[in-house]
Symmetry: C2
């Protein structure tokens, strides 16, 4: 759920952000100024079910008290689920082996009042079977330049998608991508492209040539952040 004032993961002065809130909490608890490193930034409006972040402290506070202590200091739009000790050279971002993202589309005519900030609403009926055909083209190692927004800092646009699945649950269409990493807005652009397939604007078999083209303008639009979930981050 969107916290109106929460601007996402990354620290910015005078703006409520996840990184800054947790760093402040750790300082309050331990007296130590820390820097928190996440597996990746999440933008404003994106939901995290399984973000991972690391920090280093000298304090002898028992590890099983860390989560509860941080949660007592931060707003309930931020929850730490678990804390554990890691080797000194562990880095949430660089050691990450696999990430899973989910994108939720509500495909009912009028959308949902209750879940409105937790899914993207597409009132026009989508062809699910075509979307299912299309999604398989994303699996494997590809240069995903056609599916990234400018602002990506990474040098290479090659990523591996291990698993790309799409499910239907009543009026909802759920897209799940697991890969070794994702470019900026990649999941939201792939989802937007799949929606275009569902609308008949793009043929399923065209996905192959869109990937090969490396041309952002041939892919679909970037869907809004509130349908996106960072589900899981995996390490060796």
């Amino acid at each position: 759920m969107m916290e109106k004032n929460l601007i996402g993961w990354q620290k910015q002065p005078n703006k409520l952000n996840i990184q800054g809130e947790i760093e402040k909490a750790i300082e309050t608890i331990t007296g130590e100024k820390v820097e928190l490193f996440a597996s990746g930034r999440t933008d404003r409006g994106v939901h995290s079910l399984g973000q991972v972040a690391n920090f280093k402290i000298e304090s002898k506070i028992p590890i099983e008290k860390i989560a509860i202590a941080i949660n007592s200091q931060v707003k309930n739009s931020i929850r730490v689920i678990k804390a554990e000790e890691v080797p000194e050279d562990f880095h949430s971002r660089y050691n990450c082996k696999e990430k899973t993202y989910r994108y939720v589309v509500n495909n009912s005519p009028y959308g949902s009042a209750v879940y409105r900030n937790l899914e993207y609403h597409m009132p026009v009926k989508l062809d699910f079977e075509k979307m299912k055909q299309a999604i398989s083209y994303f699996e494997g190692e590809h240069d995903f330049s056609a599916f990234k927004s400018s602002g990506t800092s990474s040098k290479s646009s090659v990523r591996i998608i291990y698993k790309a699945i799409i499910k239907k649950s009543k009026d909802r269409i759920i897209i799940e991508l697991t890969g070794n990493g994702f470019l900026y807005n990649m999941v939201r652009i792939i989802s937007g492209t799949l929606v275009d397939v569902g609308l008949g604007k793009i043929k399923p078999e065209e996905i192959k040539s869109i990937i090969e083209s490396k041309d952002r303008t041939r892919a679909g639009k970037t869907l809004p952040p509130h349908g996106l979930y960072l589900v899981k981050v995996k390490y060796k």
Copy 2:
């Protein structure tokens, strides 16, 4: 999801409410002042997935345009899913035969940031098997005086619960009650009593005598509104 300023179903001057917003929308669309009758009021924070309400208009606007027209006028925290014509003597409240409510408890240690306004968080581990034993006592025709808040306008406190089920899905416990009607806060108090059973404060077999006592002080507390959903309203 909670709309911060939305105060629930019932009309109150100068306060954002569901009844008033929809009545205003209908007036804008048809030029007619109408009164909207719901199957029952929902309090601030309660989620409706299947509320039913009726109104009378002279306007010849096609029935299949009504929902889309209302939705274009109201905030997206209110969505009309469907409109249909009913006999002149239909009344959403008096003709209602059956209602289903759901109460969602998040029983993980720290709760969920994403779903925080859509479920009640109980960090202490609940004994699900005991709750399952307890819930069966609520089925049938009973005087539910022990499970109502003051402010109930109805004369009789006798209601029939046709079906009382409890499910577990990972860290979530979901209570679902279907009955011919519910007293004020009845689902929230039954859910609070079941939580007390899960905590070991009340034995499952005590439910019988709590119902018979008609004593509100023997039942559990009224759980907060944001875990409650009006799921379905049925007519003959």
